[in-house]
C-alpha cells in the first residue's frame, strides 16, 4: 500500500508549512502575558513583590521591544473588524492555570474573571503536581498596600500618587498599544499613545522604547523633521542596542 503523500499533496504541504504563526503584535502581547504571569510566580517566590514587580515590568517592556525587534520585517495588515481594545492591561487579567506557590492575598478589587485551569489529567511523562490555583494578579496589585488610594494633601491633577510599578505598568500597556497601532497602520494613534505615555512619565523605564515608537509614527506621518529632532534629543543612555536597532530603520536614522 502506498502510504506516501502524492506530489500535489506534498507541494501543498510544503507551501503551507511555514505559513501562519503569530503576528508581531500577537507575539508581543503573548510574550508580555507569559512573562507577566510567570514573573508573578517569581515575585511570589521571592519576597518583596512590589519591588520585584517594578523591575520585572521594566524588563517586560524591554521584552516586548525585543520581541518586536526579533520579528522585524513582518509588517501587519490592519485588523479592520477587530474592536478597539481597552487600554487596561488585559494580559494580566488572563487566568493563570496553576502555580506552585501560594496565591497572593486576594483583594476585593480583583477582577471577576474565573480562573479556568487547563485539564492536565492526561499528562504523560511529566509528573503533574496538584497545585493551588493562583488568582490572576492585576498590575495594580503591585501597588504597595500602604500606599493611600488618594493623596492626603489635595493635589490638582492625579488622584493618588503613582508608584513606580503603576507607572511602569502604564508604560507597558501604552507601549503594547503603540506598537500595535504602528504595526497596523495607525501612526497617529501610535504617536498619541506613545507621546502621552512618555510625557506622563518623563523618567519612565520605557521612555526610550516609547520615544522610538513616537519617531516611527512621525516618520509614517511624513513629519521627518520632528522625528529627527526627537531622535537627536534622545540621551545617550537611552540608546540601548534594541533601541538603536529599531532607530536605524526609521527616517530619523543618522
Amino acid at each position: 500500500m502506498n502510504d506516501e503523500l502524492s506530489r500535489n499533496a506534498r507541494t501543498l504541504l510544503d507551501a503551507a508549512r511555514h505559513q501562519g504563526g503569530p503576528t508581531t503584535a500577537q507575539k508581543a502581547k503573548l510574550t508580555v502575558a507569559v512573562m507577566t504571569a510567570t514573573a508573578g510566580t517569581a515575585a511570589a517566590m521571592t519576597t518583596g513583590a512590589a519591588a520585584t514587580g517594578t523591575s520585572v515590568l521594566k524588563l517586560l517592556g524591554a521584552g516586548l521591544l525585543a520581541t518586536f525587534v526579533g520579528v522585524s520585517g513582518t509588517v501587519l495588515l490592519k485588523k479592520a473588524s477587530e474592536p478597539p481594545r481597552a487600554p487596561a492591561p488585559t494580559v494580566v487579567a488572563r487566568s493563570v492555570p496553576t502555580t506552585v506557590v501560594a496565591p497572593p492575598p486576594v483583594s476585593p478589587e480583583q477582577p471577576s474573571v474565573e480562573p479556568q485551569p487547563i485539564v492536565v489529567d492526561e499528562a504523560p511523562a511529566p509528573t503533574v503536581q496538584p497545585a493551588p490555583v493562583a488568582a490572576p494578579r492585576p498590575l495594580q496589585a503591585e501597588r504597595s498596600p500602604a500606599e493611600p488610594a488618594t493623596p492626603e494633601v489635595p493635589a490638582p491633577a492625579p488622584t493618588r500618587h503613582a508608584t513606580p510599578s503603576d507607572t511602569t505598568a502604564a508604560e507597558v500597556t501604552a507601549l503594547g498599544a503603540a506598537l500595535e497601532a504602528i504595526e497596523e497602520g495607525r501612526p497617529l494613534e501610535a504617536l498619541q499613545t506613545a507621546r502621552t505615555a512618555r510625557r506622563a512619565a518623563p523618567n519612565g523605564a520605557l521612555r526610550p522604547e516609547l520615544t522610538v515608537i513616537e519617531i516611527e509614527a512621525l516618520c509614517a506621518l511624513q513629519r521627518k523633521e520632528e522625528a529627527s529632532e526627537l531622535a537627536a534629543s534622545m540621551p545617550e543612555s537611552d540608546r540601548t542596542s534594541l533601541v538603536v536597532q529599531r532607530l536605524r530603520r526609521t527616517c530619523a536614522a543618522r
Partner: protein, 199 residues
C-alpha cells in the same frame, strides 16, 4: 533625578527569567540539561502556535492556548526529567491544551474550526494571498481528518517529529502511530485530489 536614569543599562529579559529558574521553587533538580524558561519560550513559541493552529484551535484562542501551554511548561519545567526531548514534552503539553480548548468550544456549541478572519487579517503583507489561501486550504483539509490521524499527521508533516516521538506525545505505541499516519496520508491524498477535480 537625571534624565538618563540608567535603566537602559540593565535590561536583558534573561534577568527576569533567571529568577524563574525552578530552583527558586525549592525543588532539588536532577542533573538534567534544562534550558531556562526564556530560551525555551523563544525557541518554541512560533512552532507551538502553529501546532495549535493546525490542530484546530480557533484563531481567537490561539494566544490564550499558547500562553496556557507555556504556563504549564513553566510550572512543570522543574519536574522535567529528560525522559523525552523538550520538544516532544512541549508538544505533549500543547496537544492537551488544544484538546481542552476544543472540548470547551464543543461544549459551548460554538465550535468553528476555521476562523473566517484567517484569510484576510493579521498577516504580513509579504505573505501573498496565494500563500494565505494555501494555508487555509490545508487547514480545511486537516479538519476532515479524524482527531488521532490529524494529530499524527500534523506532528510528523508540520512539526517534524518522528513516529516514536509522536508515540510519546500521544501516549500510544509506534505501530498505532504508523497506522494513523498511513491512513492520514491516504486520506489527505484523496482530499487534495478532490481539490483538483473541483477546479
Amino acid at each position: 533625578m537625571t534624565g538618563g536614569n540608567g535603566i537602559g543599562a540593565h535590561r536583558p529579559l534573561s534577568l527576569v527569567m533567571t529568577v524563574l529558574v525552578p530552583s527558586a521553587v525549592g525543588h532539588t533538580l536532577p542533573a538534567v540539561a534544562r534550558p531556562d524558561f526564556e530560551t525555551l519560550y523563544d525557541a518554541h513559541v512560533d512552532a507551538l502556535w502553529r501546532f495549535l493552529e493546525r490542530l484546530g484551535v480557533p484563531e481567537r484562542h490561539l494566544d490564550d492556548a499558547t500562553q496556557d501551554t507555556f504556563l504549564i511548561a513553566h510550572r512543570q519545567l522543574a519536574s522535567f526529567r529528560g525522559a523525552s526531548s523538550l520538544n516532544t514534552w512541549l508538544h505533549g503539553i500543547a496537544l492537551r491544551v488544544a484538546k481542552d480548548y476544543r472540548r470547551r468550544e464543543a461544549r459551548k456549541g460554538g465550535w468553528q474550526p476555521l476562523s473566517p478572519r484567517l484569510l484576510d487579517e493579521g498577516r504580513a503583507p509579504d505573505e501573498s494571498a496565494a500563500q494565505r489561501q494555501q494555508l487555509t486550504q490545508v487547514l480545511k483539509l486537516l479538519e476532515q481528518l479524524d482527531d488521532a490521524q490529524r494529530t499524527a499527521f500534523v506532528l510528523v508533516e508540520f512539526q517534524g517529529l518522528t513516529a516514536p516521538e509522536v508515540a510519546e506525545v500521544t501516549e500510544s505505541n509506534v505501530n498505532t502511530v504508523s497506522t494513523r499516519l498511513r491512513a492520514a496520508r491516504l486520506r489527505f491524498n484523496e482530499l487534495v485530489a478532490g481539490l483538483g477535480e473541483g477546479r
